[in-house]
């Protein structure tokens, strides 16, 4: 694509043209002129905080995103939402269904909802996700919400994009234990027991509190546990306040910058990883031609040898 034309699209996005914002997101996702687009976007963005919402399938993440959006809109803030769903590992296709629960803002032009598939490739999700959030910020959406299903490693990575991580669980399920297994307990800044209209919510809250005690959590920020019900519309204000409180905490203690530094470290590593992988592919091809004898070669030795030849022999 012509750089001049591309720069016009970028300028239009900054002027809050929704079509342009949507196009930039697609190009970045498809790795078309990604570095160029992001150079312009990152110059203008990075000030707004990201609220990540994760939890098991069906916990009510999208419903809560919609409920929170309603509160932000009542305060006249513009909201950018990214909802990530898994892509099929077989076909690469995906059904992205989070919009179903976000209908209330379906024609509100101050709310931008973008659905993304994980598209499988290593690290790729994470990188596009943070880029997409920044494109939304550039497009004038100051409240950034990120929803993803909390079941695996890539979702944990996605959550590292967030300045505040909200983990949504349900009463009367094995959610607590599942959450520990999936490792999402550790990333939580705020816990939500959603569907508090169903029995067992208080108990679930107590279980989480107990777990936090057991962990001997010494961090100055102890994750609060909020009960919500989207059905009876209770607790969402309280969730809103806890998110605000956490964001203040992050800013005042400099934690936000710490987290961002760590994120930058990881992002740079991922770009490195791509470059390294490319180098490795050629090294491997060369080695394979001449030396690799299946069933005999020891991968430990082979790795060491190839590494030294490539990077030390110099």
């Amino acid at each position: 694509m012509n750089k001049e034309v591309l720069d016009q699209w970028i300028a239009r996005s900054f002027e809050r043209d929704r079509r342009a914002t949507a196009k930039l997101i697609s190009w970045v996702e498809d790795d078309i002129e990604r570095a160029h687009i992001m150079r312009s976007v990152l110059k203008e963005t990075g000030r707004k905080m990201v609220v990540g919402i994760t939890g098991p399938p069906g916990a009510g993440k999208s419903s809560l995103v919609e409920a929170l959006t309603k509160l932000y809109r009542a305060r006249d803030e513009r909201v950018g939402i990214v909802a990530v769903d898994p892509s099929s590992p077989y076909t690469g296709g995906a059904i992205l269904g989070d919009r179903i629960r976000m209908q209330a803002h379906g024609t509100d032009r101050d709310v931008f909802i973008r659905s993304m598939g994980t598209r499988g490739h290593l690290g790729g999700v994470t990188r596009s996700t943070s880029d997409v959030l920044r494109i939304l910020e550039g497009g004038g959406y100051g409240r950034l919400l990120l929803e993803t299903v909390g079941v695996g490693q890539s979702e944990l990575e996605i959550m590292q994009m967030a300045d505040t991580v909200v983990v949504v669980l349900n009463p009367g399920t094995g959610d607590g234990i599942q959450a520990i297994k999936a490792g999402i307990m550790e990333v939580a800044d705020v816990f939500v027991v959603n569907k508090a209209d169903l029995p067992g919510a208080e108990r679930m809250k107590n279980d989480i509190e107990m777990m936090l005690n057991l962990n001997g959590d010494t961090r100055p920020w102890r994750p609060p546990v909020v009960l919500t019900s989207v059905i009876t519309e209770t607790g969402v204000e309280s969730l809103y306040e806890k998110i605000e409180a956490h964001q203040c905490y992050m800013l005042e203690t400099g934690q936000r910058d710490e987290r961002r530094k760590e994120r930058l470290r990881q992002e740079v590593w991922r770009h490195w990883e791509d470059k390294m992988r490319a180098v490795y592919e050629t090294v491997w091809e060369e080695a394979r031609e001449e030396r690799v004898i299946l069933h005999q070669d020891d991968p430990y030795q082979l790795a060491q040898m190839l590494w030294e030849e490539r990077f030390k022999g110099g």
Binding site: M1, N2, V5, R18, R19, A22, K23, I25, S26, E29, D30, D31, I32, S87, S88, T91, G92, G93, A94, I95, L96, G97, R99, I100, Q103, G106, T107, R109, F112, I113, R114, S115, G117, R119
Partner: protein, 139 residues
């Protein structure tokens, strides 16, 4: 060469509760490797078009089994035009009589319409060949 993934919005306009077809189509397109944004039941044409813009889809697919096709398709096309988003294609399906299909297509109110019994091969190959023919000259 960058392979861009096909993105499709599948929605059900109006009060029509027949969502089986829409769900079948969503799964069919997912299995063909596309990203399907499923927006569910009871959508207004305005919601459908706004979602299509934000999601930057290549095409919109609506399923109509309520008999309201003669108003829904022209309305969506009109809204796309208002938003300068005419490059987003519109296809659909459901219980639509043959003569209505002819007149909707001729008037440019939809690019393709499919009726009960339409197969995955028919639908997927139509989408792929249609998009291949136009994607090249998209900036």
């Amino acid at each position: 060469m960058n392979k861009t993934r096909i993105r499709v919005l599948v929605g059900k306009p109006g009060l029509d509760g027949h969502d089986r077809g829409a769900k079948v189509i969503a799964r069919m397109l997912r299995d063909a490797g596309m990203e399907v944004i499923y927006s569910g039941l009871h959508q207004t044409p305005e919601q459908i078009v706004e979602a299509a813009i934000q999601e930057d889809v290549d095409l919109i697919g609506v399923s109509v089994l309520s008999g309201a096709h003669m108003t829904i398709f022209p309305r969506i096309k009109e809204l796309l035009k208002e938003q300068n988003a005419e490059d987003i294609l519109l296809m659909g399906g459901g219980t639509i009589p043959e003569e209505d299909i002819v007149s909707l297509i001729e008037a440019g109110h939809a690019e393709a319409l499919f009726t009960p019994g339409a197969t995955s091969t028919e639908i997927v190959s139509w989408i792929k060949s249609k998009l291949e023919s136009i994607k090249e000259d998209v900036v």
